[in-house]
């Protein structure tokens, strides 16, 4: 079986999946990003403990507030979106009809928690 797509890249980029697609793609980007981050962070901490300078350099990047604000966006979104997916999947009969409302609610919760966290990070920098 070979990979066969029926749309061009330009068409794919113009795909208007709206809210559900945005959450789908952000969940994936966040998931892959976290996998890379955690892998590197664990390995950096491990080698840092053994006196390797490279581990210290990598972890210094992770301590940077700007990096933490970007990372927190993807981590929090993945966590909150994952909760929505799990709840809809576990109670499909009752909840799946409200999936668009669930996405709106998810954004409200995400913006409130993320906004508060960003203010907190910026506040600790000042």
């Amino acid at each position: 079986m070979s990979l066969k797509r029926d749309v061009s890249l330009s068409t794919a980029l113009r795909y208007k999946g709206q809210g559900p697609f945005l959450t789908f793609i952000l969940h994936r980007i966040g998931g892959i990003g976290m996998a890379l981050f955690i892998t590197l962070h664990v390995l950096a901490s491990f080698v840092e403990g053994r006196g390797w300078k490279i581990g210290d350099v990598i972890n210094d990047i992770y301590i940077n507030p700007v990096f933490q604000i970007v990372l927190l966006f993807f981590v929090l979104f993945h966590v909150i979106n994952g909760l929505r997916i799990t709840m809809l999947d576990l109670f499909p009969t009752r909840l799946i009809q409200y999936h668009r409302q669930a996405i709106k609610l998810e954004w409200v919760v995400f913006i409130a928690i993320y906004g508060f966290a960003v203010i907190s990070i910026i506040g600790s920098m000042l």
Binding site: G31, T39, A117
Partner: protein, 144 residues
């Protein structure tokens, strides 16, 4: 607009393939992680209240309750943050998150590699990375 409709096929008719098991595993590990995160939030609120711990530090602790995550926080004593209980919570969260994560990465990569042989190679690489990183992570948790 088409309304999404729930499919109510019973599990006996749906069958329990490997994919179904992993579908359940992903949801179950997600719920387990919410439990660990909640324990972390409650613990950070209790232990950090006296020091006016800020929200970002609480989140950083809750997402991985390792003492190195509060080293730069304004805390009078780090001892309560480095107990065996918190190391067990961190270990549970780490193992759950990494197994959830390695399966998630495989699911995403499967969408970009259609050949069976390519998928097998990708899966092998992901499992090898998981087996290499997991012990390193546990070592960091228990020695920090």
């Amino acid at each position: 607009m088409n309304q999404a409709k729930a499919r109510n096929l019973p599990l006996s008719k749906r069958g329990m393939s490997f994919e179904t098991v992993m579908w359940v595993f992903t949801r179950a590990t997600a719920l387990l992680m919410y439990g660990f995160i909640l324990v972390g939030i409650v613990g950070a609120l209790m232990m950090g209240a006296a020091n006016d711990m800020n929200f970002a530090d609480i989140l950083r602790w809750a997402l991985m309750p390792n003492v190195s995550h509060v080293e730069n926080t304004n805390l009078a004593d780090l001892a309560p943050w480095a107990t065996t209980f918190w190391k067990l919570v961190a270990m549970g969260l780490f193992v759950t998150a990494s197994s959830h994560g390695v399966h998630g990465v495989i699911v995403v990569l499967d969408d970009y590699f259609a050949k069976h042989s390519h998928r097998q190679i990708i899966r092998g690489i992901c499992v090898i990375i998981f087996l290499a990183v997991a012990p390193a992570g546990l070592y960091v948790i228990w020695t920090s």
